[in-house]
Symmetry: C2
Subunit: 172 residues, 2 copies
């Protein structure tokens, strides 16, 4: 794990609600060395192994395009409902309270296309698991999921299983 990158993550207590310590990545993004190093570290294990990067709205969008460029492939988007203009598939998943929905364009991933999911944070894994299901519904081959940060004390990795998880910075 990169101590340099970890040193660029800022703890914000009680955000978004009391008792939660939010891992703020904005100092890392703001750092001219930290940003490209994070992108390289997220892309590295997937070099030559994927055809498409899947970026998850909205912080996943930050890393999706540079990881895709580093891997020499295109970027597909998973968005909140009503944002994608063409034909979509939807997936609704459970949150702590209530549900949330994600969408993908039905032509975003070719059948059999090898996909790596990219997001900033793996926490409970609900969003990532829904994205995994969307790729599977489109007939894509999800070869892995790459996160800048993994909260190892939450069940995210198990939720995404059997898709292999790669994380650059881990908190246990």
């Amino acid at each position: 794990m990169s101590e340099f990158l970890k040193g660029l993550i800022r703890d914000i207590p009680d955000f978004p609600k009391p008792g939660i310590v939010f891992k703020d990545i904005t100092p890392l993004l703001n750092d001219s060395k930290g940003l490209p190093e994070a992108v390289s570290a997220m892309a590295e294990p997937f070099r030559g192994k994927v055809d498409t990067v899947l970026g998850i709205e909205s912080r996943g969008f930050i890393f999706g395009a540079p990881v895709a460029i580093a891997l020499g492939v295109g970027l597909a988007l998973v968005r909140k409902p009503g944002k994608l203009p063409s034909d979509t598939k939807q997936m609704t998943y459970e949150l702590e309270y209530g549900t949330d929905t994600l969408e993908i364009h039905t032509d975003a991933i070719p059948k059999g296309g090898r996909v790596v999911l990219v997001d900033d944070l793996l926490a409970t894994g609900g969003t990532a698991a829904a994205a995994v299901d969307l790729v599977s519904e489109l007939g894509g081959d999800l070869v892995g999921a790459s996160f800048l940060i993994e909260l190892g004390f939450l069940p995210g990795r198990g939720k995404v299983s059997p898709v292999p998880v790669h994380s650059v910075i881990r908190y246990d």
Copy 2:
């Protein structure tokens, strides 16, 4: 203007509402040649001229990080309200119906820092103008705004003036 890139933009009629022709950039993002070419074209005029790239939520996030990496600088974020965890400044601006609000971390841009704003689309310019005001409030020096697409038949360029606008693909 790049005819190759323009050929990767898809028209979606009547989205998000009847009478609007939406310029869908997802085929361009999905193209392994189109994505890096778009990023290079957005970054090129600002090489050596800026200290920070400002990415606007949420499609601006897609281009913000790779443009920052291409320019060798960091990325600052402008987000919808309640998403940024530390101290923020807010700016509320008018839409066709109602208002919208954007936020920036108060430490996102150093005083006097040279900034280029990055977003996918310049249309009416309301969002971009609000981001210009936020940079100005933080004491940043906005040297330009870079868009993948400019709708030249809308008043966006004038709204952002006197900040110079660079766009890769223009529709008149």
